[in-house]
């Protein structure tokens, strides 16, 4: 019984961080029809920037967390302004191809600066050790769950309760109308891209103490985030939430039952959803065959 509870919490840790990444992917897709292949690499870059800030500040994890989120948001905004904006009005596939090319560039920059070896980022001292909640569980993992949920709720509040969120959602629905009503839609796009990227950067630092840092960490997670949006439905915040937790739990329990097959179990779940509802569990009809 205890083992099952521990596994469920493990799944929750993975699922909630996965949600931060998938939510960013989903916001950017919903707003601009950009399926951002660099998203995973921005997540990795966030972790590495966290590592650098951690070193510069003499081991301040909190500074690393905030700095990575802010800097990656800036990198995302820069990518949007320098490259993606030039494709405005073209088929969404071109965005996908462009961000794919940029992924090579960013990944190689990471490899060039930090090398191919695994690096470690220690969890803050205050969050070390385990806590007994009837079951014994590492404090840091509970912290990751708490921060992820907090951030997810904040993003949801921003999207639904603030005027910025209103503009963001309006831009998703009808960019021309937003433009006509006197708001610079281009700025909204840049900010939306920055928000989604910042979430990835934040997730990178949060996960780094659990998994370590490697240049490939981004692509591995991106694939799982893609599966989340396939299962949940591309562009659906709710779908991303449900599917992240589902994938997290499947992965955690899969590892316990048959370690080397846990990824294959996630794929099986994806294929099952595709057979039943090809557009994803919470999709709004997009992407279906004519």
């Amino acid at each position: 019984m205890e083992a099952i509870a521990v596994q469920a919490l493990q799944g929750l840790t993975f699922g909630t961080t996965l949600f931060l990444v998938a939510a960013g992917l989903s916001i950017i897709w919903g707003l601009m029809d950009i399926l951002n292949f660099t998203h995973g690499t921005l997540y990795a870059l966030g972790a590495y920037i966290g590592l650098v800030v951690f070193g510069l500040t003499g081991g301040n994890f909190w500074a690393a967390l905030v700095a990575a989120a802010v800097i990656i948001a800036g990198v995302g905004a820069a990518l949007e302004i320098v490259a993606l904006r030039r494709l405005f009005g073209r088929d969404p596939l071109y965005y996908f191809l462009l961000t794919f090319g940029l992924t090579f560039v960013l990944t190689e920059i990471i490899r060039f600066i930090w090398g191919d070896d695994f690096l470690g980022l220690p969890a803050p001292a205050a969050l070390e050790g385990s806590v007994n909640l009837g079951i014994t569980f590492p404090v840091y993992r509970l912290f990751v769950i708490a921060v992820s949920v907090l951030v997810a709720v904040s993003v949801w509040v921003v999207l639904t309760r603030t005027s910025f969120g209103l503009l963001l959602r309006a831009g998703t629905q009808n960019p021309e109308m937003v433009s006509v009503l006197g708001t610079n839609i281009q700025t909204i796009y840049t900010l939306g891209f920055a928000l989604g990227s910042g979430l990835a950067g934040l997730a990178g630092v949060l996960v780094a103490p659990l998994t370590g840092l490697s240049p490939q960490m981004g692509v591995d997670l991106l694939l799982q985030a893609f599966i989340v949006v396939i299962i949940g439905g591309l562009g659906s915040f709710r779908g991303a939430a449900v599917a992240s937790l589902l994938v997290g739990e499947i992965y955690a329990f899969g590892i316990r039952i048959a370690p080397s097959f846990s990824m294959l179990l996630i794929y099986a779940a994806m294929i099952l959803v595709l057979l039943i509802k090809p557009s994803g569990l919470f999709a709004e009809g997009a992407g279906r065959e004519v």
């Binding site: 494709l87 090579f104 065959e289």
Partner: protein
């Protein structure tokens, strides 16, 4: 398509014959003027050219961007390599099995992925190709896992008539690959000019209209996808005699992306463009990785930059640049002849 004013004196097939003669003479030319490692490099260009040519059928002609095509390339290589090393098959029957395996995989992946379009389709093919990658690194005993597997098997053809030709001999292997590539190129030109190919182009230009005209669009797309996977598997199976080594790189997403770079660089919807693009990518990769370390191992950085710039500024690649000035005339000629204009007319690859 060769019938422009300047070339009216020459038949349309003349450039191909000249290029073919050049390729046939290449081993002798390399022998005379270049270091000997250019011959395996040329062989590799042809193999990846074949892969890119097959990919052009779905991206350039049918307008579908798959992001998991390395699965077919890798599957062709793994089935061929493993049936040779495990079952002791000679090359040709092993290649046949490799191609069959890739074709079957394409039929299955196509069945699922073609239910969706555009980016969703790309996403699905990506996820499916990663399943094959995952399988290869999971079943370590069979595949060698991340490390791959060296194939220390006798390279025999499986046809007694060919016994005199030694597959380990580099020029022999080059000519074998060249024959396969030339035959496939010729065959695919015929297929793409046939009513079948023209329907694919019609689907690319306007899927709804093609469906309204009564063409079973879904079946045509599936056929194009399977054909493309078959050629990918064929190209992959050629990697076995070429490098006598199989590794998960052969079905990693990086290769799925690189084949798009090749097609886009050369120019989609032309068949010869992707061959050229593949040659350029292989050449660039070799040139960049020849740079002194630590720059050499980061060859993907310049390639990624080139790719990003291409997507922004020249989405029709080299073929598109060549055609740019001629487009109005080509379009006029095509209209007179009742044909469809070649690739520059295709503005966006819709899936």
């Amino acid at each position: 398509m060769g019938g422009t004013d300047r070339r009216r004196a020459l038949p349309g097939w003349a450039p191909y014959v000249l290029l073919g003669l050049l390729l046939v003479a290449l081993p002798a030319l390399i022998d005379a003027f270049l270091p000997s490692f250019y011959l395996p490099l040329a062989t590799e260009m042809l193999i990846f050219g074949l892969f890119a040519l097959g990919y052009d059928i779905i991206m350039g002609y049918t307008g579908m961007v798959s992001f998991g095509h390395a699965a077919f390339f890798g599957l062709g290589a793994y089935v061929t390599g493993l049936t040779m090393s495990r079952l002791g098959l000679p090359l040709l029957p092993a290649m046949l099995l490799g191609v069959l395996g890739a074709t079957a995989a394409a039929a299955i992946i196509g069945f699922f992925s073609l239910r969706l379009r555009s980016v969703y389709f790309a996403l699905l093919t990506f996820a499916f190709s990663q399943i094959f990658y995952q399988l290869v690194i999971t079943f370590t005993d069979l595949t060698g896992g991340y490390d791959g597997r060296a194939l220390s098997v006798p390279m025999l053809w499986g046809l007694p008539d060919l016994a005199a030709l030694n597959l380990r001999d580099r020029p022999t292997l080059y000519y074998f690959v060249l024959v396969v590539v030339m035959l496939t190129f010729w065959l695919m030109r015929r297929v793409m000019a046939s009513p079948f190919g023209q329907v694919l182009v019609a689907i690319r230009e306007n899927e709804l209209r093609a469906a309204t005209l009564g063409y079973p669009v879904a079946r045509y797309k599936q056929a194009a996808f399977v054909l493309s996977g078959l050629i990918g598997g064929l190209a992959g199976s050629l990697m076995v005699p070429y490098q006598r080594f199989i590794s998960p790189d052969l079905l990693y997403w990086e290769l799925s992306g690189l084949v798009i770079v090749m097609v886009l660089l050369g120019g989609m919807g032309t068949l010869w463009g992707p061959l050229l693009g593949a040659a350029l990518v292989v050449f660039l990769r070799d040139a960049f990785s020849g740079l002194p370390q630590p720059f050499g191992k980061h060859y993907l950085l310049p390639l990624g930059l080139i790719f990003a710039l291409l997507v922004i500024f020249a989405p029709h690649g080299i073929a598109g640049l060549l055609h740019r000035r001629r487009v109005p005339r080509l379009a006029r000629e095509a209209a007179e002849a009742g044909e469809l204009a070649p690739s520059p007319a295709a503005d966006s690859p819709r899936g």
